[in-house]
């Protein structure tokens, strides 16, 4: 028979082990990121880099995977904090937190791994998420009459640009705030969207932008 005390101790040990693992993972991810940055810098402009298109693609791929992996590390963290064990970190939504219906988000991105990761992160943060993998799919969602509080748009969608969906969104879901996930080529002064978040940024920056927009 286990007592509450035993459970507390076990919980505390589990938290400690997890925290160590995360620390280790962040260190490792950081080292890989640095190493890749260095290798890329050394090789960019060389004949090899210019003639083998795989190199660029693979560097990009590693960057995306590191971003996904670090999002997962932090995602595990916020899931823990929602636990009822009562050991370790304070709950993310304490007694003082306001209860409100989840904001509905339409996430439009042509990359399946981004959709899966980001949707999981958003749901962890209490958003209700619907997905679209292309401009066409996003348009049909909108014309179905679905209501959204937020639309999160990737800029490059394969069958068009995210920004080109904005006029249609404004007409069909006028209450929705629009956040554009942009690369470096985006014009930050473009007033047609409510916020822009650079794709490489930490998920916290995205959540801040989303929350500001959902509640604003």
């Amino acid at each position: 028979m286990t007592t509450g005390n035993d459970e507390d101790v076990r919980g505390a040990i589990a938290d400690e082990v997890l925290s160590e693992l995360r620390h280790e993972l962040r260190n490792n991810l950081s080292t890989i990121r640095n190493a890749m940055f260095y290798v890329r810098r050394r090789i960019v402009g060389s004949e090899l880099y210019d003639t083998d298109p795989r190199l660029r693609r693979f560097f990009d791929l590693v960057e995306v995977e590191i971003a996904n992996a670090s999002a997962l590390v932090e995602r595990g963290l916020s899931a823990d904090r929602q636990g009822t064990r009562g050991v370790g970190g304070a709950p993310a939504r304490g007694p003082g937190a306001k209860v409100r219906p989840p904001a509905r988000v339409l996430l439009v991105d042509d990359d399946e791994s981004v959709r899966i990761t980001l949707a999981a992160l958003l749901e962890d943060e209490g958003f209700s998420v619907e997905l679209a993998g292309s401009s066409a799919e996003a348009r049909s969602r909108i014309s179905e009459g679905s209501r959204y509080d937020l639309v999160l748009l990737d800029q490059n969608l394969g069958d068009g640009l995210g920004i080109d969906l904005v006029p249609r969104l404004r007409a069909e879901v006028p209450m929705a705030r629009i956040v554009l996930l942009s690369g470096v080529e985006a014009d930050p002064s473009d007033p047609s969207v409510d916020a822009r978040v650079a794709k490489g940024e930490a998920p916290e920056a995205l959540f801040r932008a989303l929350r500001g927009n959902a509640e604003g």
Partner: protein, 148 residues
């Protein structure tokens, strides 16, 4: 006049001390920083070695891990700025348990896994400020101590 020449010479390269008890980490950080022109990097894998290096060389910036065996990065940065008032301090941490406290040495914080470009930008900014502080103090004929 001599002070100005000396300041110019020093502006040539930013001297950075990187401290982390993990060898792969210091090596990868040094690689990122040295891929920039005019950045010179020295690495140490323990706070004690870092303090020794600090008494031998005038560094512009010190980048330290938070969690290390002998002392925390905050303690190290505190001691570093007591020895070299101009040095720019950057704390780099992946720890959950890190919390910024008031009244500790003035330092910047970078959370792992950070964007390497951001590391470079921060080190450049801190380095420039350190060099400026040092030339002002040299012009005043100071001995490297903060003006009171």
């Amino acid at each position: 006049m001599r002070a100005l020449e000396r300041a110019d010479e020093r502006a040539a390269a930013i001297r950075v001390l990187v401290v982390d008890d993990d060898t792969a980490t210091v090596e990868s950080m040094a690689a990122v920083l040295e891929s920039e022109v005019q950045v010179e990097v020295t690495t140490c894998t323990s706070p004690t070695a870092a303090l020794r290096a600090l008494s031998a060389v005038d560094f512009d910036v010190i980048c330290s891990d938070y969690r290390m065996p002998e002392m925390t990065g905050i303690e190290l940065l505190g001691r570093a700025s007591a020895r070299a008032p101009h040095v720019g301090c950057l704390l780099i941490t992946g720890a959950n348990d890190y919390e910024r406290r008031e009244g500790e040495a003035l330092y910047y914080v970078l959370l792992k896994p950070y964007d390497p470009e951001r590391l470079i930008r921060l080190v450049r900014q801190l380095g420039k400020v350190a060099q400026m502080k040092r030339s002002v103090s040299a012009l005043r004929g100071g001995d490297g101590q903060e003006p009171s």
